[in-house]
């Protein structure tokens, strides 16, 4: 569906800002894209399409996202890597009264320090975005990934 230019611009800006944040290595930026009472789910497409409830990650609050940030920084040993999101144009499914339901395709590339860049994870996001006094935020973000065979592990936020 078509939304007014100002809303469209805000949405595109939010997606661009999010991608820049999660690729920056400054993980503290990530939870700030969400409202306190948010949900964030990273789900293999198989589970999603078969209505199986398991997620690879399932967070139910901004506080859980902050716990994840702490985990990435302090507790999860991993081979360091860069990641790079490329996000397609938003597809608005519904919109009204400071609330947008939208989707976007994405691809994430991974680059390890001693190796070539590889396609790490591709899929689509299914989002509910709401307008708050602090700007547009994600109320929910469900990342449904096609790349069901994860190349070893996912550490950083998608």
């Amino acid at each position: 569906m078509i939304v007014d230019p100002a809303t469209w611009q805000a949405l595109v800006q939010l997606y661009a800002d999010y991608a820049a944040a999660v690729d920056s290595g400054d993980w503290d930026l990530w939870p700030e894209f969400f409202v306190d009472d948010c949900t964030y789910r990273l789900v293999p497409r198989e589970n999603h399409e078969r209505n199986l409830p398991l997620a690879t990650l399932a967070f139910e609050s901004k506080a859980m996202l902050k716990d994840r940030v702490y985990g990435i920084r302090e507790t999860l040993f991993h081979d360091p890597y860069y990641q790079r999101h490329v996000v397609g144009a938003p597809l608005v499914r519904a919109s009204g009264a400071g609330r947008i339901e939208c989707e976007a395709n994405y691809a994430v590339f991974r680059t390890k320090l001693d190796g070539p860049t590889t396609v790490f994870n591709v899929g689509r996001t299914i989002d509910v975005v709401v307008e708050t006094p602090a700007g547009w935020k994600f109320q929910s973000r469900t990342i449904v990934y096609d790349s069901e065979m994860i190349p070893n592990s996912i550490i950083y936020p998608l």
Binding site: L42, P44, E46, N47, R50, L52, P53, L54, A55, T56, L57, A58, F59, E60, S61, A63, M64, K66, D67, R68, Y70, G71, E74, T75, L76, F77, H78, D79, E148, M149, I150, P151, N152, S153, I154, I155
Partner: protein, 424 residues
């Protein structure tokens, strides 16, 4: 072997230092030839391999595609309700015909020449078997002595226990109960006591390391309290937790049984909390991750990790339960498939709790993601200097059950069995 006399960086076969198994040659992980022998001797002969849960195929006609070792198989519930496992290779031209990962069928048809099989794997249709009539003549057709009964799909032997399905290409394999052995059966039955299971879904990861490393990871109670900050800080798995290590009589399977202690850093706990990974001040922003509610069937232990050699790990970590299927792909990689489940009589709250605690596990889990990482980097070390060996001597060089977890005895035990089979 005197390490100073090594004259090749790439030995053809693993060379063991003496009779023991505490020093595992890197070459046990780096050879394609040895890997094929492992497939033959562990995955294709004399062993039961995990293929799934009955709850994945609840209805007649339901199937799932999976593997035994590196061979694609189909686990299917026939119309009479019985479970069958058949190899996913058409009897005609060898095509791996089943491409869907799961679904429901009345029969199987290979798309290439439409050879048709029953759900039990019997050949029931061959197009143009009797030839094609044209101008009063019959052209072609299969030879008169072609016998469909002899040309079905390869059928595996199947055993189920407590809702878990195992299969073997070897129809002379010992009964599943004997294969597990009396020391392991009670731990298997504790988790799979016949209650109906509820499938939650899957996580899949490809780990670039030798498949045995995942068995070893879950036979290694040394690392969780060191590598896994969450475990040590929240007392879920710590060197001073009350624990037992149990093996079957051939040392191939094992159960690591642990009971959560206090999460504090009191004087007795000092040794285990002085490790770098213990974080005194770590507090969860959202404590629901660790909303743990003891269940009657635990009978005490808060975590029991059971390794069934060669193919599967059974997980109970507090309220989170899963199977983890090891699917080798050459000597240097394996796919690791997590199937999370609950029990049909779980309350809504318990279902939510199990799913929430699943955040600790799997390819992105707060605890488990780093296991895949260390396995990848171990494999890199092995490939770099295959003439060398690991050192699994915590708790000595012997093999035996223990009442503590400060030991690598389960790894030594697994390699005692490995040598027995591989060197025969």
């Amino acid at each position: 072997m005197d390490r100073s006399t090594i004259d090749t960086a790439f030995p053809a076969l693993p060379v063991w230092e003496g009779e023991g198994t505490s020093r595992i040659p890197f070459a046990a992980y780096t050879s394609e030839e040895l890997h094929r022998r492992e497939l033959e001797r562990f995955f294709y002969k004399s062993h039961w391999c995990y293929v799934g849960l009955e709850a994945e195929i609840p209805n007649p006609g339901d199937f799932k595609r999976t593997v035994v070792g590196e061979r694609s198989v189909i686990v299917v519930r026939a119309l009479d309700g019985s479970i069958h496992v058949v190899e996913n290779v058409c009897a005609h031209r060898g095509m791996s015909f089943c491409r869907a990962r799961s679904g429901n069928r009345k029969d199987f048809t290979c798309p290439y020449h439409q050879w048709n099989y029953s759900l039990k794997g019997d050949l029931q249709g061959v197009p143009f078997r009797r030839g094609v009539k044209q101008d009063g003549k019959v052209h072609g057709g299969m030879p008169a002595d072609f016998d469909p009964l002899l040309n079905g799909l390869t059928k595996l032997k199947v055993a189920t226990r407590g809702g878990v399905v195992f299969a073997s290409f070897d129809h002379d394999v010992e009964p599943l109960e004997d294969f597990l052995g009396p020391a392991i059966v009670p731990w298997f039955d504790r988790l799979f006591d016949g209650r109906a299971l509820k499938l939650y879904g899957y996580n899949r990861q490809r780990i670039p390391g030798n498949w045995k490393l995942m068995q070893e990871n879950i036979k290694d109670p040394y690392h969780p309290g060191l590598l896994h900050t969450w475990f040590v800080t929240f007392g879920l798995w710590r060197a001073d937790n009350r624990s037992r290590l149990v093996m079957d009589e051939r040392f191939r399977h094992a159960a690591m049984i642990s009971t959560r202690g206090s999460a504090g850093a009191g004087s007795d706990a000092r040794q285990v909390t002085q490790v770098a990974s213990f974080k005194q001040d770590m507090k969860l922003e959202d404590p629901r991750f660790l909303d743990i509610v003891p269940e009657p069937w635990w009978g005490g232990p808060t975590a029991v990790m059971t390794t069934l050699f060669p193919s599967v790990i059974l997980q109970q970590q507090v309220n989170s339960v899963s199977t983890r299927h090891i699917q080798p792909d050459g000597h240097g990689a394996f796919d690791f498939v997590w199937t999370h489940f609950g029990f049909a009589d779980d309350s809504e709250e318990m279902t939510e709790r199990r799913l929430r605690q699943a955040n600790l596990f799997g390819p992105a889990g707060f605890v488990s993601a780093d296991d895949g990482e260390v396995i990848e980097l171990s494999q890199q070390g092995f490939e770099q200097k295959p003439f060398h060996r690991t050192l699994a001597e915590l708790g000595g060089t012997e093999v035996g059950d223990t009442e503590h977890m400060v030991t690598e005895t389960l790894i030594r035990g697994m390699y005692r069995y490995w040598r027995e089979v591989m060197e025969a």
